[in-house]
């Protein structure tokens, strides 16, 4: 099993953090364009899902899969979006993404007065902690 990469977006759609572990392709476009494209896609999927849903209440998007990879999505009520691409064998990982938010983002970014919110993350502490956390996951 593999984890390909992770994206963190804020509510305005800025990509705060991107890291890749096992990515096999390179989209032939600059990174910032890829972030915009992905965020645009997530935004459309969200509106698509709320309107298409046959029942009411919580209608959040969880994941999609193609024949090669699976994209997992988790959004906090403050609009922070966590996106992780893994291979197909991985089940629902909402809890894992919540852990990344709760144990790593909140601990090392929100509680760090030197890290400005809504700006791309520079903290190396955050990077190492996230890397450790992901590498310890059972499906890494």
């Amino acid at each position: 099993m593999t984890v390909y990469n992770i994206y963190i977006f804020n509510r305005e759609g800025t990509c705060l953090y991107y890291y890749e572990w096992n990515r096999r392709t390179d989209c032939n476009m600059p990174k910032y364009e890829e972030f915009k494209l992905l965020h645009g896609m997530l935004f459309s999927i969200k509106s698509f899902v709320t309107r298409l849903s046959p029942i009411d209440g919580k209608n959040s998007f969880i994941s999609y899969r193609t024949n090669k990879y699976k994209l997992h999505f988790y959004e906090t009520p403050t609009g922070l979006k966590f996106v992780m691409n893994t291979d197909l064998a991985v089940e629902n990982i909402q809890d894992t993404l919540h852990d990344i938010y709760n144990k790593i983002y909140v601990e090392y970014i929100v509680k760090n007065p030197l890290c400005k919110l809504n700006e791309p993350i520079q903290s190396s502490l955050f990077r190492t902690k996230l890397d450790e956390h992901v590498k310890s996951l059972p499906f890494y």
Binding site: D56, S60, I62, S63, Y64
Partner: protein, 218 residues
């Protein structure tokens, strides 16, 4: 009901066939006093944007006032519904809220939207030679998509707990080739209006439903 709706998209992303199978009635009727504790937003209809209570949810639309159906935000006598609700003399008032079903135009829009999402998901793949979206999971439904070699897409909206629908999608494709494509009055890429296709598809969906309910009862 396991299958909620099915769609067929042509290779340009146009909607050429759709059926809905759900007709869940979850409209809520309540009597309100003045002032109204629900915030309504006005666009082409009146939608609840704040103040969920008694089964009325955000996203519901105002369907009827005192049992009189609204048409185009207006009461049958021509007064604007919002003006009517602003007047304290009209209270207590009984309001009916519910979800407005997707209109055909909206369905066409969502079909082409899915077509682009499908293409973007291929583009953003971390692995080489990826197909587009095959299954999209949400908390309230699951969308299964099967793309044929010629680019036609078959979509099925099911229950979130529904397992793989590959067999059904293949069967669906078979029906399409048998009853829609072999119909001499059907022109390619155009909406499918074919009775034989409708009846056979309904039959297949019922079969699948029976099979899945049996499975879930065991």
């Amino acid at each position: 009901m396991a299958i909620q709706s099915v769609f067929i998209l042509n290779k340009a992303g146009g909607l050429i066939y759709h059926t809905d199978r759900y007709n869940s009635k979850n409209d809520v009727e309540k009597t309100f006093g003045y002032p109204l504790d629900i915030v309504l937003k006005e666009d082409d209809k009146l939608t609840v944007i704040f103040g969920e209570r008694d089964g009325i949810k955000v996203g519901f639309s105002l369907l009827a006032v005192n049992g009189e159906e609204l048409s185009n935000k207006q009461l049958p006598n021509g007064t604007d519904a919002l003006d009517f609700l602003k007047d304290p003399n009209n209270y207590p008032v009984s309001l009916k809220f519910g979800r407005i079903k997707l209109k055909t135009n909206e369905k066409i829009m969502f079909a082409s939207m899915f077509h682009t999402l499908f293409a973007i998901s291929t583009k953003l793949s971390p692995e080489q030679k990826s197909s587009g979206i095959q299954v999209l999971e949400t908390e309230s439904f699951k969308l299964h998509c099967y793309q044929t070699a010629t680019g036609v897409k078959f979509l099925v909206l099911t229950d979130p707990k529904q397992g793989p629908m590959d067999n059904f999608l293949k069967r669906f494709h078979e029906l399409y080739t048998d009853y829609a494509l072999k119909n001499p009055f059907y022109s390619l890429e155009m909406p499918i209006r074919c009775e034989l296709f409708d009846t056979n598809l309904q039959k297949t969906m019922e079969q699948v439903e029976r099979a899945t309910t049996q499975y879930s009862n065991e």
